[in-house]
């Protein structure tokens, strides 16, 4: 039955389903129990599944991920919540040096089916460390897979797919979109669902391709709506999977439109946009009418809340890039 729920609720339902479906799934993190998480993504889960399956942990991110490794070796499927993007760095060593490498190190003997959920991105008027976009750091790390959801239906499905996967997955949640609503079929079976690591054309178009993920998908859709009033028909692709990237979907689109603009909140330097631009150039060189352009956060630490709107890509900056592409 389809319901209209928020993205945050979609994640909550997805986590609940995962806990129901597999007794080895455990949720662990700071304040995930009674409080239901600072964003209430785990709301009500400890009450229904107990303190052994929804574990309020000590306040130590490396401990959350490091103990998840041991639980996974024991046969569990831990879902770790990192409270905010900027707090993942104490766990960075465990994620990059252990989680990412264990399967390789052990010659394929040790699988770590761990999901690390990270609310990411800005736009919520927060203090330092609460608005960052560190996805490129993890996408750059072999052995990790990285995904991001952008709407309630994907939130519900992708979190379950991620938990069911034996690959270690860093799951980026667009925190400023937690409260956006959409229709979700809570009874849709996971089998046959749209694949976790595939990109999706969320708005078909013919004139240029906008590439985005997480919070910027909504921004790009709004930009495409605005552009349509000017007679430009933009295609919007929600990448969904940041590692691996679903390049065939991207190439097919760019070969049709001849133009690509990548949009993300993270700083541009060595970001996902750089990689996408390089790969598109290699594969679509003769189809391109203009260079691949990037609309990103600036190469500065995430700024104070009162100026974050000037830092973040928005509808106007996206349209400006589209104009530049057409003016090439």
């Amino acid at each position: 039955m389809a319901e209209t729920i928020t993205l945050g609720k979609g994640l909550n339902h997805g986590l609940r389903r995962a806990l129901e479906d597999d007794p080895k799934v455990v949720i662990m993190g700071e304040d995930v129990g009674k409080l239901g998480g600072v964003f209430r993504i785990t709301d009500g889960l400890q009450k229904d599944f107990g303190e052994d399956r929804v574990i309020d942990t000590p306040l130590a991110e490396s401990g959350i991920v490091g103990t998840a490794v041991g639980l996974a070796i024991r046969g569990y499927r831990p879902v770790c919540e990192i409270q905010f993007d900027g707090f993942v760095f104490p766990a960075f060593n465990q994620i990059v040096a252990q989680v990412a490498k264990m399967f390789y190190r052990s010659l394929g003997n040790v699988r770590l089916p761990i999901v690390i959920r990270i609310p990411f991105g800005g736009g919520i008027g927060a203090v330092e460390h609460h608005s960052e976009s560190p996805e490129a750091l993890f996408s750059h790390t072999p052995g990790l897979k990285v995904v991001s959801c952008a709407n309630p239906a994907d939130a519900y499905t992708m979190i379950r797919q991620a938990i069911r996967s034996d690959d270690p997955i860093v799951f980026f949640e667009p925190k400023r979109r937690y409260w956006e609503k959409g229709e979700v079929d809570l009874d849709a079976p996971l089998e046959g669902a749209f694949p976790l690591h595939s990109a999706r054309v969320v708005r078909p178009g013919t004139d240029a391709t906008l590439l985005a993920y997480g919070p910027m998908v909504r921004t790009c859709l709004d930009a495409a709506t605005a552009a349509a009033e000017d007679g430009r028909n933009l295609e919007v692709i929600d990448l969904r999977s940041l590692s691996p990237l679903d390049m065939p979907t991207v190439y097919a689109s760019v070969k049709r439109t001849g133009r690509a603009v990548v949009v993300h909140e993270a700083p541009g330097n060595l970001g996902l946009g750089s990689e996408l631009a390089a790969r598109i150039t290699e594969e679509c060189f003769y189809s391109l009418e203009a260079p691949v352009l990037r609309v990103t956060g600036y190469d500065v630490p995430y700024p104070a809340a009162r100026v974050e709107e000037d830092y973040l890509p928005d509808l106007d900056r996206v349209l400006d890039a589209v104009d530049r592409s057409f003016g090439w």
Binding site: V26, D52, T57, P58, A60, S62, G63, V65, G66, T67, A68, V69, G70, L71, A72, I73, R74, G75, Y76, P78, P90, N93, Q94, A97, Q98, K101, M102, F103, Y104, R105, S106, L107, G108, N109, V110, R111, P113, P142, G143, K145, S165, D166, D167, S243, P244, L245
Partner: protein, 379 residues
């Protein structure tokens, strides 16, 4: 000597330690620590002889590995020389169902788990990253990042509790190995916090070999390491790390406490790294010869030999047999190490992800195309 309870022996650090066999080979019947725990062992003559055999064997295998490194057959070797008693005692204290999380120096524990000693040589020869199945051997992959494995061990121990496998004599327990340097790591301190909070069935076995590469213990701590446990809410015991009997007795007791649901223990095995940190290190730059000499007098093997001799449990025939058997194992190990094949280059793309990745597959295909382009060319 117990922790401060009795007069401290000449070979003990201030505060004392649990010692059941002196460097001269004298048996101490039992030791009672200030918390009232009494430690002792009750070994048959055969068991004493087997412990001696273990000690000699792991030292001999280690010496062979050092030689292989010097001959260019291993990229690097992390020697356990001097730490045989700590490793054999604790390794033999493990029960079948217990899980060990090693650093990269626990070759003696690995041997005591009944594992073919060739297993870690892939790592040191550079033909793989040290891969094996931890659940098959109840012995995890070597961990090189200092202290990281203590959190893995803690998580695994939490899993034991969640599986309901504690609370009786048949329960499961975990042992996490690390060194004195690791006690400064955040991960080790987090592991202590977590284990305490979750009452995890785990024994933290710290081999304090006095040095973290070049840095002496004083650069890691201003109190004896075993006393740190108090701050985390569980017992800490210091043992003479060169005494295989103390190592066995205290580890066995701590593991049994853990499996019975009584939570973690920190054991500080006070020992000495007789060799270099690894074959790449030069300890003459940071420690003096007389210090090394003083520790030679506390050798973990010589004291067992002295005890066996004095008690007439074993004589020269036995010692000769043990040396011969150890040498045979070492030469067999050498032969098999030399026969280890280099991996096929294309295997570097294997085992990146359980479910694979189109990007890795594409790079592998390109790699194969590139290499195939040389086939048939003169070179």
């Amino acid at each position: 000597m117990a922790n401060g309870e009795r007069e401290v022996g000449a070979d003990a650090p201030a505060g004392g330690f649990v010692q059941l066999l002196t460097p001269d080979g004298e048996r101490v019947d039992s030791v009672t620590t200030p918390d009232g725990t009494t430690y002792s062992v009750d070994f048959s003559d055969d068991e004493y002889r087997e412990l001696y055999r273990d000690l000699v064997t792991v030292r001999r295998l280690d010496a062979e590995a050092t030689a292989l490194q010097r001959q260019g057959e291993l990229g690097i070797w992390a020697s356990l020389l001097g730490q045989e008693a700590a490793q054999v005692g604790s390794g033999r204290a493990l029960r079948q169902q217990d899980m060990a999380f090693p650093t990269y120096r626990e070759h003696g524990v690995l041997y005591c788990r009944g594992i073919d000693p060739i297993m870690p040589f892939g790592l040191f020869r550079g033909v793989d990253q040290g891969g094996w199945d931890p659940n098959e051997f109840k012995f995890n992959t070597y961990t090189i990042v200092i202290g990281a494995q203590t959190l893995h061990a803690t998580g695994y121990a939490m899993g034991i509790t969640m599986d309901g496998k504690t609370g009786n004599a048949d329960g499961e327990a975990v042992i996490a190995y690390f060194g004195d340097g690791a006690t400064s790591q955040g991960d080790v301190n987090e592991a202590f916090v977590w284990s305490g909070v979750f009452n995890a069935p785990i024994v933290f076995f710290c081999q304090n070999n006095q040095y973290a590469i070049s840095e002496p213990l004083e650069r890691q701590t201003r109190i004896p390491l075993y006393r740190r446990a108090l701050g985390y809410g569980f017992p800490g015991v210091r043992i003479d790390g060169n005494d295989v009997l103390a190592s066995f007795a205290v580890t066995r007791a701590a593991l049994d406490q853990a499996r019975n649901g009584q939570g973690p223990t920190l054991i500080e095995a006070y020992t000495y790294r007789m060799g270099a940190h690894t074959s790449s290190d030069d300890p003459t730059r940071y420690r003096i010869a007389s210090e090394v000499e003083s520790w030679k007098a506390k050798d973990p093997i010589a004291r067992v030999k002295a005890f066996l001799t004095k008690q007439q449990i074993a004589g020269d025939d036995f010692f000769g047999d043990v040396d011969e058997a150890a040498k045979k194992l070492a030469l067999d190990l050498r032969e098999r190490v030399l026969a280890m094949p280099d991996p096929q280059p294309v295997t570097l793309f294997d085992n990146v992800y359980p479910h694979g990745s189109p990007e890795v597959e594409a790079q592998k295909a390109e790699f194969e195309r590139y290499h195939a382009s040389f086939e048939g060319s003169a070179s």
